[in-house]
Each structure stands twice: as C-alpha cells, then as structure tokens.
C-alpha cells in the first residue's frame, strides 16, 4: 500500500510540473495587471482587448492559415509519396526513406537555416510563401511516417485484385487503397497541423515582409514583456482544443457502443 501511495504521489508531482506553467498562464489571463507575478484582481479585460488587437489577430490569422494549408498540402503530398515509396524496390526505397528522415532527425535550426539559404539562393522574397513552403517541408515526412505503417498492415493483394477485376490504377487507388489507409492519413494530417501551429524555429528564419505568426510575436514580445492578451488567446485556443477532444472522445465512445464493441 505504501508503494502505491508513493507511485500516486510521484505521478502527481510530475504532472504538476508539466501543468504548472499552463495553470499560471490561464490564471494570469484573468489578472487585472500587466506585470507578471502580481495578482491584482479578476478581470475579463484581456479577452475583450484581444478582439481589438489588430497585430495579434493578424498573427493568429497567419498561424491558422499556414497550419491549415500546410497540413492539407503535406497530407496530399505525403500520402502519395508513402504509396509510391511502399511500392519501390529495396535500395531506392531505403535511400528515399533515409532522405525523408533528414528533416525529422536534423535539429530544427539546421533545417531552418538550410531552407533560408535555399530561398536566398533562388532569390525568393521572404514572406508568406517561404513560410508556407518551409512548413510543408518539415510536416510532410511525419505524414509519410504515419501512413507507411498502415500500408504495411494492408493486404497487398487488395489493389491487385481490384485491378484484375478491371479497375484502373487510379480507380484502385481511390476506391481501395486510400480508404484502407485513412486512419494513417488522418493521424498524419493532425500531426502536421499540430506541428505547424506550434512551430517557432522554422517560421522565425523563413518569414519576412511583416508576416509573423503567434510564436514569432511571442518571441519578440518576450524581450519587453508579454502582453496578457496573448495569455487570453492561448487560454481560448487551449480550452477549445480540449473541448474538441472531449467531443471526439464522446463520439468514438458512442460509436463503439453502437457497434457493440
């Protein structure tokens, strides 16, 4: 019994450590003072000011725009790439997979500066386009890595059977392969979205022309002190994600019950 209590205490302390800053952020988004560390009463004013703050709303817009676009594009690119890679012969498959691993294994900052060098080399103007491209570059490998295991699980002969029965390769792809690997595609898409929305390093090096996302905004603020409006915004984003999660959970539970699992 003692060891069980000890385990509980340990788990509790680690989770406290992980959640302490989040609690602080949420609490201070209701703080009636600009300075951190001083509690000056409860207020909703930061939530109201949030909707008047053009700069932060613009950063939010770019964050969401880039996250949605890069998630969609890298999902399409990555899914086709995974199907192709899966069907490649040994050596070229190995080489392709290893190259695909590079952005995953390389430190963010190396990926970021190498892309910065590329865009400079092609004389591209830094801005929304370069930021979007760089996000697709680092999101796609994760999509591929989440689709490939589903392809391995799939019955190899399904697509062949479809084609034997007269389906064109494209039709087999659309009607047989894609539905089979859908869970992997969805995981990949969500991962790409999460990675993109939370990214700082890659965006920081590959943006320009007054295009900034929330992370860049927060980083530049951190030198002069964070505007509590950001706390309010993150609290809202965080809470809406939790609610979304709860809804999805309820749905799958319901489905499971209906299916009698």
């Amino acid at each position: 019994m003692v060891s069980r209590g000890l385990k509980r205490l340990y788990t509790f302390l680690i989770f406290l450590f992980l959640y302490a800053p989040i609690i602080v952020l949420i609490v201070f988004s209701f703080n009636n003072s600009k300075s951190r560390g001083v509690w000056a009463g409860f207020t909703f004013k930061w939530y109201i000011e949030l909707f008047k703050d053009a700069e932060i709303l613009k950063a939010l817009y770019y964050t969401l725009l880039v996250a949605v676009l890069s998630a969609l594009i890298s999902t399409v690119l990555g899914t086709f790439a995974a199907i192709g890679i899966y069907n490649m012969p040994g050596l070229s498959k190995k080489i392709t997979l290893n190259l695909n691993y590079l952005p995953v294994l390389n430190p963010d900052i190396v990926t970021a500066v190498s892309l910065m060098a590329l865009f400079r080399f092609f004389k591209m103007e830094f801005g929304l386009a370069t930021m979007l491209l760089s996000h697709i570059v680092f999101c796609t490998p994760y999509v591929i890595l989440s689709v490939l295991p589903k392809l391995k699980q799939m019955n190899k002969h399904l697509a062949e059977a479809a084609m034997d029965l007269g389906a064109t390769p494209f039709y087999a792809l659309r009607k047989v392969i894609i539905p089979e690997i859908m869970p992997g595609i969805i995981t990949g898409c969500l991962m790409a979205f999460t990675l993109s929305i939370d990214d700082f390093v890659i965006s920081f090096f590959n943006t320009g022309n007054n295009v900034s996302n929330l992370s860049i905004e927060i980083f530049s603020m951190s030198r002069r002190g964070i505007n509590p409006v950001i706390n309010a915004l993150s609290t809202l984003m965080f809470v809406s994600l939790i609610i979304l999660l709860l809804i999805i959970n309820k749905r799958t539970e319901k489905n499971e019950i209906e299916r009698g699992v």
């Binding site: 989040i22 995974a82 590329l118 939370d198 700082f200 090096f205 927060i218 950001i230």
Partner: protein, 279 residues
C-alpha cells in the same frame, strides 16, 4: 507495380527542399565572402578555424554539457513515470498518455515563458520560500533555469517512447522469470530493463537533439548573457549576417548529432523499421 510513380513528385520535392539546402549549407561552410552575393564566394577553411578557438569551443562544450545533463534528468524522471503508466489499467493508461500530450497544445514559447512567473524574484516559488522564512533565491537567468526549461519541454519525448516499448513486453516473460526464482529487482534489471532499451535509446535521441540545438529556451530563461551553440547560429543568420560562419556551426551541430546517433544505435540492436516510435 506502377504505383511507385506516385512518389516521383515527392522525390523531386525532396531533391529541391532537403538535398539542395544541405549542400548549400555545406557550400557556405567552406567558403567566405559577402553572404548576400554568391559571386564573391571563395573556398576557405577560415570558418572552422574560427570555430576551433577557446571562445566558441567553450560554447559548444556548455551546450553539449547542458543537453547531456538534461537528457539524464529526463531519463531518471521519465522512466519511472513510463513504468507506472504502463502498469495502470487501460483506461487510466490512455488518459495519462493523453495528459502527456495535452501540454504541447499550448504554445511552447509561452509555456517556457510562464516559468519566469513561477521562478522570478517576485514569483510564486520565492513567495513560498520567503513565507517560510528564507531569503529569496536567484532562480532565473542561469544554468539551472535553462536546464529546467529543457527538462520541462522534452520530458514527454522521453516518457512516450519508453512507455510504447514497455506495454509491448509480454507478461509471460516476467512471469517466467518469477517462476524461475528471480526477485523483483532481478526481474527488472534482467528482463524489463534490457527489453525496454530501444525505447530508452529513442528517448535519449529525442531529448538530446532538440536540447543541444535549442536557442529559444536559453534566450527565454537564460537571459541575454547566456549563449548556447543554437544562439550563435541564430545570431549569425539573423543579426550578424555571416552565413558562412553560421553554416559551419550548423555542420558541426549535425556532425555531433550523427555521432550521438551512431553511439546510440550501437546499443540498439533491434531497431524497428518505420520509426515513429513517439506516436
């Protein structure tokens, strides 16, 4: 097998956005000149010569040292947690895994910055300390704060891969060891620990790589005086404009990571293909 053709666009994409950029960095690293004008580049080893002087080697040493310590701390803190989670009943288990991931949904810069509120001179922790009757401590803008930031941010990356491996261990193996007379410690050290090695290795690389190359955590919690190799690269590319020197440091960072991975893969005999151990 015409299906492989659908990967061709991505192969072209990889050539442009993964291979060429790395060669460009390599090219920058071995040349000097005006970073903005490719015509002025000349082959030179000056960037590396400049790096291998005490000032910069000290920064590299500090980065590696901090990353190493934070990896060890993550392992010591994370392994027991992964073990506890893997032993819980399925419902609770999934809940706890989810709780490890949820913090990542809040911007990591902001979460790291929030530690300033907790650790600062008028922060919560010093408030408690002074209430008990001690003098306030200097908790931010030093080594320990940067370490804390690293452990805080990367701990889930250690716990998740270890957990993934631990739940796959067959119960019958543990039962067999017990039947053969092994006590709890022996079961752990001779069965569970060796079998969880692949997870530990993945965890180590997933913590060490971002820790050694970070510039955000040190910029936020270390104050301005605090430099790690990531900060040097950032300065060269964003402020000083010497892309050649910045590239040479990126190459050194990459070499370091290759060494780490070679070392860890030595211990990792049965590396699973496909990767994605985290998810």
């Amino acid at each position: 097998m015409k299906m492989k053709k659908v990967a061709y666009p991505y192969i072209l994409w990889m050539a442009i956005f993964i291979v060429i950029p790395l060669f460009l960095i390599l090219y920058f690293a071995f040349t000097t000149g005006d970073s903005q004008n490719f015509a002025t580049f000349q082959f030179s080893l000056d960037n590396f010569k400049r790096f291998f002087t005490p000032t910069y080697l000290k920064v590299l040493g500090r980065s590696v040292n901090l990353a190493f310590i934070s990896t060890i701390i993550c392992l010591i803190l994370g392994y027991p947690l992964a073990y506890i989670i893997s032993k819980a009943e399925p419902r609770k288990r999934n809940m706890m895994v989810l709780m490890l991931v949820i913090p990542m949904w809040m911007n990591f810069l902001l979460r790291t910055y929030a530690w300033l509120t907790l650790l600062g001179r008028n922060g919560f922790i010093n408030f408690v300390i002074t209430k008990i009757g001690f003098k306030p401590l200097e908790l931010i803008y030093n080594d320990k704060a940067v370490l804390l930031g690293m452990v805080y941010n990367f701990l889930p990356f250690m716990v998740l891969p270890i957990y993934t491996v631990l739940i796959k261990i067959e119960k019958s193996l543990i039962e067999a060891a017990e039947d053969l007379g092994a006590n709890k410690i022996e079961v752990f050290s001779k069965v569970v620990l060796p079998l969880s090695m692949p997870g530990i290795i993945t965890g180590i690389t997933m913590v060490f790589i971002p820790a050694v190359s970070t510039f955000v955590i040190s910029a936020l919690l270390g104050g301005n005086k605090y430099n790690l190799i990531g900060n040097l690269v950032e300065q060269q590319f964003r402020w000083t404009g010497d892309w050649h020197f910045g590239s040479s440091m990126s190459i050194i960072l990459m070499i370091f990571i290759l060494i780490t991975m070679a070392l860890t893969s030595k211990f990792d005999k049965e590396k699973e293909g496909g990767g994605g151990g985290l998810w």
